[in-house]
């Protein structure tokens, strides 16, 4: 019990350190409070939400598909959401429609993927390959949308596509905060369901779970979180892959604990990545998706090399 409390305190300290670092780095001499409160704090808050949300989605997809490589990005859900959002952006629709459309994009992707995977008995290779194929397909469609669209929006759209926390407006952040926080609390309420879903649909049914209904609910909730995160921040890859792995390694696989620790770790991770991306090539900025993509890609490769079999990942 003491060990659990200690590790939880450690996590909170880590998150606080990340936030303080992000707020005060790099140092500002004049008009400090304006920059901090109008630029940095909302941005840190968004990074917190998106990092926590994507990590929890990773946990959920990994449990439901029983595949440790599943996460919104590798499954193509992020690209689906991006396509939805890109369409809405190009038609100059409002914030509400961008989020809705992004959510629909992620939901459609998840159902296509689920349909493919269930025909192949949720085979690990099939699922990741299907995810990669969907991801490439939707990314190309996003490029198509931008290619045929009017020219002036394209540059910012491309930046957004690579993952960008700087351009979200306050009303977007508020809406996203509602969807992501409500989503994460719903997932935590389903923590025990997630535990037994890991044992396979049949066994979960024998233990008393209404598997089909529960999976539908969880897919919709995870799609809402992913859609909300992507509509505000663009495609930020691999957070949902790296964070649950580290959280599982450090804190165990019990889903109640795993969701909470993944949310905190994910938030801290994205805040740090964003601070790096905003300062590393000053006075220019990198899209944060580039930083998470590099970290995540290396992590993913490392996992493949280290693991003896797919199933032991």
């Amino acid at each position: 019990m003491n060990k659990k409390i200690l590790s939880f305190v450690g996590l909170i300290v880590f998150l606080s350190a990340a936030i303080i670092f992000a707020v005060y780095f790099p140092k500002i001499d004049s008009q400090a409070s304006t920059i901090i409160w109008q630029l940095r704090v909302p941005r840190i808050f968004l990074a917190f939400l998106v990092g926590a949300g994507l990590s929890c989605c990773g946990v959920v997809f990994q449990a439901m598909l029983r595949n440790a490589l599943a996460e919104p990005y590798t499954l193509g859900v992020s690209s689906g959401a991006a396509l939805g959002a890109a369409l809405a952006i190009m038609f100059n629709l409002g914030v509400f429609f961008i989020t809705t459309s992004s959510f629909l994009g992620s939901l459609v992707t998840i159902f296509v993927l689920y349909a493919i995977a269930s025909r192949k008995h949720f085979d690990n290779n099939t699922m990741i390959l299907a995810g990669v194929a969907l991801s490439l397909l939707f990314s190309s469609l996003v490029l198509l949308v931008f290619a045929v669209a009017r020219k002036e929006g394209v540059h910012s759209a491309v930046i957004w596509l690579m993952g960008d926390l700087s351009s979200a407006r306050p009303e977007v952040i508020k809406a996203v905060a509602f969807f992501i926080l409500a989503g994460i609390f719903t997932l935590i309420a389903f923590a025990r369901d997630l535990d037994i879903i890991c044992l396979g649909d049949e066994k979960a049914g024998h233990l008393g779970l209404n598997v089909i209904l529960t999976k539908r609910i969880l897919f919709v909730v995870a799609s809402i979180i992913t859609g909300a995160a992507i509509s505000a921040a663009g495609i930020i890859g691999f957070v949902g892959l790296i964070i649950p792995h580290i959280a599982r390694f450090l804190f165990g696989v019990n889903h109640r604990r795993l969701l909470v620790t993944s949310a905190i770790l994910g938030a801290a991770f994205l805040i740090i990545c964003d601070t790096v991306s905003r300062t590393i090539i000053l006075p220019l900025e990198l899209p944060v998706g580039v930083v998470t993509g590099i970290c995540g890609g290396l992590f993913f490769l490392g996992l493949l090399v280290k693991a003896k079999r797919w199933s032991s990942l």
Partner: protein, 265 residues
């Protein structure tokens, strides 16, 4: 009254029925063994009875109620099912794994209560894995893993326990441990047990009633002496055997006869 009534069920995977018109019932407190050659449909029957596979004809009644009309949660409080293999893609500890059995007993928005912890601890003691409770479920040996499955089944505190070949691939020590604890719970607490067995001598040693399944139908059901005799076994398994009495228990004991020429030592 029978706890479980299987009435003229037929089911299968593709167009053809694998199980054809099978009926049997299990009385409360019974210990039923299901045996049969490979491909006889034992696991298919098991999956139909435990609601994992849709039934095409007939019905399965639990306490007189059609199981398709019982809620998943309600059924899980009364019936525990242990398949041959349980997927464990993540490294749960043995205790966490066994605790999952309490899912149907705990409300979504409440914490586990004392009874839940008691049931889990008792189940781990009974199955003989209390000393492994902090171990990673994926690092257990085959025998230990099967004992963990068993503990999960016990922790569900069911009225009836259905098991699909719990002793497959296990050494004799684990075979005896698993069958002994099932028998003990059956005798002392009235737990109803339905178990698929591959090993005819285990069926002889532990089961009160036996169903011999062949080609998707019940070939014969009855007590051990009616089923486990030379004529019946040779007919169904198409293999020459010798049936003797176990010198201590007097129960039938089956020996294979090799086709190679053998001389007594």
């Amino acid at each position: 009254m029978n706890l479980l009534d299987v009435k003229e069920i037929s089911c299968g995977y593709d167009s053809a029925d694998i199980i054809k018109n099978v009926s049997f019932s299990v009385a409360k407190g019974g210990f039923l063994g299901i045996i049969g050659p490979n491909g006889a449909g034992k696991t298919t029957l098991f999956r139909a009875v435990t609601r994992s596979l849709a039934i095409r004809k007939g019905s399965v009644l639990y306490n007189g109620v059609d199981i398709s009309k019982i809620s998943t949660t309600q059924l899980a409080r009364n019936m525990a099912v242990i398949p041959q293999v349980i997927l464990t893609p993540f490294s749960f500890t043995v205790e966490e794994f066994v605790f999952m059995a309490r899912f149907a007993h705990i409300d979504r928005f409440s914490a586990p209560r004392g009874v839940d912890y008691d049931a889990v601890n008792k189940a781990m003691d009974l199955a003989g894995i209390a000393h492994l409770k902090n171990r990673n479920i994926r690092e257990l040996s085959g025998g230990e893993r099967q004992q963990a499955y068993l503990a999960q089944g016990f922790a569900q505190t069911p009225e009836i326990l259905l098991l699909d070949e719990p002793t497959a691939h296990l050494d004799i020590r684990h075979q005896a441990a698993i069958m002994d604890v099932l028998k003990k719970l059956n005798k002392e607490q009235g737990l109803t047990v339905v178990v698929i067995l591959h090993d005819l001598n285990l069926a002889s040693g532990y089961c009160d009633d036996i169903i011999l399944l062949n080609e998707g139908k019940i070939y014969k059901k009855g007590g051990r002496d009616e089923i486990l005799n030379k004529e019946t076994i040779e007919e169904v398994y198409k293999t020459q055997v010798i049936v003797e009495k176990n010198p201590i228990t007097g129960k039938p004991c089956i020996f294979l006869v090799s086709k190679q020429k053998q001389t007594p030592a």
